[in-house]
């Protein structure tokens, strides 16, 4: 049986949390708390709350800094008391503004996408991320450029958080030659070698083995190629949804990642719905975090509408991976405010569920937190919002004024060897041989 407990739980009483964390010399970060939710749409009984009295396992006692676990507001049955407002905030001012700006960027960008779609500038499948920004920001802002991110079709905000410029993503969505993939990928296939964003995959579950492979490379480079890395192993994050957790590839990769102790974090964005299929209707055991310990890795459940809680868990999981301790499965309970895609009428989700999650909007919550803890003033936040608005406007103008891909681009990049058909015995590209035919496409 795994030495890791299934869920790492903070003590149920925040006052205890403050005392115990004050006792630690190495860190004093009490659990941040947002207004607790009155009701939960997530009705299954939850053993994590009953295990809240579990003490740390002996192995964890060796650690310099005990794991600061976070339990979801929804998961724990006990109402959490608001901690005293004089408690030290969990983030510095700079960090909080960075998080705020990133989430505002994601939200504004996605809203602009919806506008552009209805104006006909964007087409095909567009899947928007509104409401889930805390997960992307909470995780990706902790990464360095050398770390990798693999995502699904709901990948615009992952691209933005990882550092791909908004104008490049917008131009890609418009299908212009200045897009991050020169218009060849589209909404669902964002790639950026420079920022180590490895896609953008349309098939759910497809990104998980690819992410596992990127983590494998990180370990291979260290162990076989003997490349040194002062920061530890480069980490890969795989983002995917609740529906993916029933897919075979997910389980295959949980097994192999733990078997080979790969530096990967599996991040489940459980927004409770896979198009119109509710997670509860499709999954025999809806608690996804439990699938981690079944394979021998820790499984953590976190409130994905709270960026600070997500960041706390993410920090731990990423550090674990960097140290070579292997993978972690993190289930973030989150929600998408819009439909599955812009073509989805979104009729099956109940209005009161949507209303409940609207009150837990991660951006509103962070704003409240910043103001309550006097990390910044209202006007500073407004300045950030205005700056992002301008950036997105500029991105749209850039995308609008960019050229469409030239006709010759159709046949390019099928292969990495530049003209695609290999090198002949005389050392020259075969397609340059005048007798060589390239098929019949007349371009």
């Amino acid at each position: 049986m795994s030495a890791f407990s299934a869920v790492k739980i903070l003590h149920a009483h925040p006052s205890l949390a403050v005392r115990s964390s004050a006792a630690e010399s190495s860190s004093n970060k009490p659990k941040p708390s947002f207004p607790s939710s009155p009701s939960s749409p997530f009705n299954s009984t939850n053993p994590s709350s009953s295990s809240s009295s579990l003490s740390s396992s002996p192995l964890r006692g060796n650690r310099r800094r005990p794991i600061l676990a976070v339990s979801s507001d929804v998961v724990s049955k006990k109402q959490q008391q608001r901690p005293p407002l004089v408690a030290t905030p969990a983030v510095t001012r700079e960090e909080s503004l960075e998080l705020y700006e990133d989430m505002i960027l994601g939200r504004t960008f996605e809203d602009m996408c919806a506008q552009m779609y209805y104006r006909g500038k964007m087409f095909g499948f567009v899947h928007l991320y509104n409401g889930q920004e805390a997960v992307s920001t909470g995780f990706i802002k902790l990464l360095s450029r050398a770390d990798s991110v693999v995502s699904t079709y709901r990948d615009h905000v992952h691209a933005l958080s990882k550092g791909v410029p908004a104008r490049a993503v917008m131009a890609e969505l418009f299908g212009k030659a200045t897009g991050c993939c020169r218009g060849q990928g589209g909404s669902m296939h964002m790639f950026s070698a420079e920022h180590n964003l490895l896609g953008g995959f349309a098939f759910i579950g497809e990104g998980i083995p690819v992410a596992t492979g990127a983590a494998f490379t990180s370990k291979y480079r260290y162990e076989v190629l003997k490349e040194s890395n002062p920061n530890g192993l480069d980490v890969t994050l795989a983002f995917f949804g609740d529906g993916t957790c029933n897919n075979g590839q997910f389980f295959e990769c949980l097994n192999m990642a733990q078997l080979w102790k790969l530096p990967i974090v599996f991040v489940v964005e459980n927004n409770l719905w896979a198009i119109g299929m509710s997670h509860l209707r499709s999954t025999s055991d809806p608690e996804i975090w439990k699938k981690g310990p079944a394979f021998g890795m820790p499984g953590v459940h976190v409130d994905g509408m709270d960026v600070l809680k997500v960041r706390e868990v993410a920090k731990e999981a990423i550090e674990r991976a960097r140290r070579g301790e292997g993978p972690t499965l993190v289930e973030c309970e989150t929600y998408r405010f819009r439909g599955h895609s812009l073509a989805d009428p979104d009729e099956l989700r109940k209005p009161d569920e949507k209303a409940h999650y609207a009150t837990r909007d991660p951006i509103t919550a962070l704003k409240k937190y910043i103001l309550e803890h006097n990390l910044a003033s209202e006007s500073e936040l407004k300045t950030i919002e205005k700056k992002i608005d301008d950036e997105i406007e500029e991105a749209v103008e850039f995308a609008d004024s960019s050229p469409h891909p030239p006709r010759s681009q159709l046949l390019e990049n099928v292969f990495a060897d530049p003209k695609g058909f290999g090198i002949g015995p005389d050392g020259k590209y075969r397609c340059e041989d005048p007798k060589f035919t390239q098929g019949t496409a007349q371009v």
Binding site: F191, L198, E223, V224, N255, M256, E412, G422
Partner: protein, 368 residues
């Protein structure tokens, strides 16, 4: 880099001894060096792994079992478990892991125990390996090789006998190779591993144990065959027979029988299914004016259909007879030995088809 540049044109007839090569050959003083296809593949993998530390093997039973068909024999002992990885039975998982590793510059060689099992991973071969360079506009290339036995073995039943050449050759973004002889196997596998693009390498289980002579150049560690170039195994002037993998052997036997009856057949070993060497095929048809294509896979939408179309598009006026394709029967592979024999092409079928194309009267082909 490519030893092919130094490769002299070998005699067209298989089995002709070249005395000069035998004097220079490495171990035997009197005979030309011979190698089984299995040894050829093993030596190719060995040399590529020692030349480039980024090359690694992944697959079921490639390590401690020494390879399900012993292709990867002794590689675990030589390179260690970090570079020769035994996987759990997770084709989709490890094919995807290979693609992810290739994104970051490693050069995986993924083995499928047979290509029938590649269907569990075909999403990754096509959607993440073949299409990635295109979707990312050249940012992420995938220097991966998927290899394994393809096609029918003996008596293994319907789910273990399918030929996937047409499936993979259909996809833009993949290179598909299928060797016949030991020299093909060595040269093409080395080329595949060095190639910056995804390569599907279709071997044949029944060829693994067959011995072929290899020239001294082929034994050199920098020997590579060009991708996209077919080989004329036997020159002729009356009819062109194209084939790949095991069917090349059958075509050569058929050519031998036909030559006794006065029909001189030119046998083309395709070697590369994508890109297909259309110039060589068309040049041959323009010379002989008749064509039959031989393949082991199902007939509809197969490799032969593509070759026929290519010839019709480019050399229509040169054809003196309709192009005929010899393929497996349009049924899943039966198990009974006599039915299995009828379900795959035999040398007889090739001979009869050649005679039909040459307008010799023959009894009607036996139909099931």
């Amino acid at each position: 880099m490519l030893g092919a540049a130094r490769r002299k044109i070998l005699g067209q007839m298989l089995g002709r001894i070249r005395p000069i090569a035998s004097i220079q050959s490495m171990s035997y003083s009197t005979a030309v060096k011979e190698m089984t296809v299995r040894e050829a593949l093993n030596s190719a993998l060995d040399e590529e792994m020692s030349a480039d530390p980024k090359v690694f093997l992944m697959g079921e039973e490639v390590g401690e079992y020494q390879g399900a068909y012993k292709i990867t024999k002794d590689l675990l002992q030589k390179y260690g478990p970090d570079r020769v990885l035994d996987t759990p039975i997770t084709e989709a998982g490890f094919a995807g892991i290979g693609v992810g590793a290739a994104y970051h510059g490693l050069r995986p060689v993924i083995e499928f125990m047979t290509f029938n099992f590649s269907m569990q991973a075909i999403d990754h071969i096509i959607n993440s390996a073949a299409k990635s360079n295109y979707m990312s506009a050249g940012q992420l290339s995938v220097p991966i090789v998927f290899r394994g036995p393809n096609g029918a073995a003996a008596g293994v039943g319907a789910q273990h006998s399918q030929c996937y050449a047409a499936w993979y050759a259909h996809v833009p973004g993949l290179k598909v190779l299928s060797p016949y002889s030991a020299e093909d196997a060595r040269g093409l596998l080395k080329a595949a591993i060095r190639d910056p693009d995804p390569v599907v390498f279709l071997e044949n289980e029944l060829l693994y144990g067959e011995t072929f002579p290899v020239s001294a150049e082929a034994l050199d560690s920098s020997f590579c065959l060009p991708i996209g170039k077919a080989k004329i195994e036997r020159a002729g002037k009356d009819i062109t027979i194209t084939a790949f993998s095991k069917m090349v052997g059958y075509a050569l036997q058929a050519a031998e029988i036909l030559s006794k009856e006065g029909i001189s057949a030119e046998v083309i070993n395709l070697r590369s299914l994508r890109p297909l060497d259309r110039p060589t095929i068309n040049a041959s048809v323009r010379k002989t004016n008749r064509l039959i294509t031989v393949e082991e896979g199902f007939p509809q939408h197969g490799v032969g259909a593509e070759i026929c179309t290519s010839v019709v598009e480019e050399s229509f006026e040169y054809l003196d007879a309709p192009v005929e394709r010899i393929s497996a029967a349009d049924v899943p592979m039966p198990y009974a030995a006599n039915l299995e024999r009828m379900a795959v092409p035999q040398v007889d079928d090739i001979v009869r088809a050649a005679k039909r194309a040459c307008y010799r009267s023959v009894p009607m082909a036996a139909t099931a």
